[in-house]
């Protein structure tokens, strides 16, 4: 398993896509920090960008890599290696490479310019979002048979999490505005890793008042230690559960 991960990392490092991604993130962060002396504002801008780009790149890159390596996976399956170890090795290799890019591209500038509790929350949330979307990519890839369908499904997941989800939540809020929705909203947030991460950061930034009533509600729930623990563990589940499902599908998949 670790050997496979090692070789995948070695392979990815030699490709240019992930280097470009790292440079893109690093440039965005550095430019934002340099152009605005207000560090907190900078962190907000970075959060907005990171919550769009990071999920997109993680899920698309991982899906593409999975399908490009399909024949290599086939070769590995014909070798005396457990199927479980093959897929976990691939997940480990791909996710740690993308995570590495995130660390270099975002965590490093943030640590240099804005090392604070909020900065660290951004790092943790971004890292977990990377893992969640790589994990979802594995689910999407094992679920579908060919590359175009896989990437299509991956894009749909991203589209859902980054854009459609908010609209659905708003619709839900309007429709049921006569009812107390506090608990339901917290559950709803947990269904979207991007939301979880975004709320975690915004709350740490102490601008939750901007988010109105629900913001106050989140502040009450998420702002406390248990709230942070809840969102971190939900994100953790998002990083593990799809891969476990993928493992289950993969163990019965014809190659």
């Amino acid at each position: 398993m670790f050997k496979i991960a090692k070789y995948i990392i070695l392979d990815i490092i030699r490709s240019k896509v992930l280097i470009a991604y790292t440079l893109l993130l690093a440039t965005i962060c550095t430019v934002i920090f340099l152009s605005d002396s207000d560090v907190i504002k900078g962190l907000v801008s970075i959060t907005t960008i990171v919550m769009i780009i990071v999920p997109l790149v993680s899920i698309i890159y991982a899906t593409t890599y999975y399908f490009n390596a399909a024949e290599f996976t086939e070769l590995l399956v014909s070798q005396p290696i457990k199927r479980r170890d093959i897929l976990l090795g691939e997940y480990l290799g791909i996710s740690s490479s993308i995570l590495g890019a995130f660390v270099l591209g975002v965590c490093l500038p943030v640590a240099l310019f804005a090392l604070s509790a909020t900065g660290i929350t951004l790092m943790v949330a971004g890292g977990l979002v990377t893992l969640s979307f790589t994990s979802l990519a594995f689910w999407a890839s094992t679920k579908t048979r060919d590359k175009s369908k896989g990437i299509g499904l991956a894009l749909m997941i991203w589209f859902y999490a980054a854009i459609i989800y908010d609209a659905l939540v708003l619709l839900f809020l309007f429709t049921f505005s006569d009812y107390p929705l506090e608990k339901a909203m917290i559950v709803l947030t947990a269904l979207n890793p991007v939301d979880l991460a975004r709320i975690m950061i915004l709350l740490k930034l102490d601008i939750s008042a901007l988010m109105g009533y629900t913001g106050a509600l989140y502040r009450q729930f998420f702002g406390s230690g248990t709230g942070i623990a809840f969102s971190v563990s939900m994100l953790f589940i998002w990083s593990v559960l799809p891969v476990l499902l993928a493992l289950k599908i993969f163990s019965k998949k014809d190659l």
């Binding site: 392979d11 024949e71 070798q79 005396p80 199927r83 998949k253 014809d254």
Partner: protein, 239 residues
């Protein structure tokens, strides 16, 4: 001659299409088996079932008598050469060989005959993505033979190889047979099967049409050439 691989009542459906319809057979050591059949007759699916790449809906696969469905350990006795070998693009040939050695944890001395015969050492620094189809095929062949496996499964091994490379591969296959190994080959080139095979298996629409020693087939039909034998046997049924 011991039975190495045994298939019993293997069935496999892809969607609505039944690709393997109750396949039962066994393969013995010291034997070269040529698996023939038209396109979509189930050759590759059968091979992939043996390798655990395709999981049959029903039936047992046994290796040296033990049931090996959904296990992986027996694969260390098998060398497989796929129809089209794809490897990580950025990896160099030398690294690929090192990686396979590393992953397989092989403590036996690797068999480098083909690496030498194909002069792959001089290309060790070339990344896989720059290789031609034929060279990839050579790499796949070298990998299949590298770990001194008891069973060799070659899926259309000579497609894309030049005549010299084909000849080298044929000699290697015959040498392995002499070492009491089992070699299973699928091929569309009849002259090649004729030259190598001891036993011929003909698959048609997911069933074994016949599985007999080449000599017996020649006796039966009174023909020497495999092409003619096949035409005889297959047209007789339709008349």
């Amino acid at each position: 001659m011991d039975t190495l691989i045994e298939l019993s009542h293997i069935k496999k459906t892809f969607g609505k299409l039944q690709v393997l319809k109750d396949i039962s057979c066994h393969f013995e050591s010291g034997n070269i088996v040529s698996v023939l059949g038209p396109n979509a007759s189930g050759k590759t699916t059968m091979i992939k079932s043996i390798l655990g790449m395709v999981i049959p809906d029903e039936g047992d696969i046994r290796f040296r008598g033990t049931r090996v469905n959904n296990t992986f350990d027996y694969k260390k006795y098998i060398g497989y050469m796929p129809q089209i070998g794809h490897y990580p693009d950025n990896m160099k040939i030398g690294q690929l060989f090192d990686m396979m050695l590393d992953i397989r944890n092989c403590n036996k001395i690797p068999d480098t005959d083909l690496i030498e015969a194909y002069r792959l050492k001089s290309m060790y620094h070339k990344p896989m993505r720059t290789l031609s189809g034929g060279t990839r095929q050579k790499v796949s062949a070298a990998l299949a033979f590298m770990f001194n496996p008891d069973v060799l499964i070659l899926d259309e091994p000579t497609a894309g190889l030049d005549p010299f490379a084909t000849e080298i591969l044929k000699q290697k296959i015959l040498a392995e047979k002499a070492n009491n190994r089992l070699v299973i080959i699928t091929s569309h080139i009849l002259s090649e099967s004729e030259e190598l095979a001891d036993t011929v298996m003909y698959l048609y629409e997911g069933k074994i049409k016949f599985y007999e020693p080449l000599a017996a087939l020649q006796m039966e039909t009174g023909e020497q050439r495999l092409g003619k034998i096949l035409t005889r046997l297959l047209t007789e049924e339709h008349v």
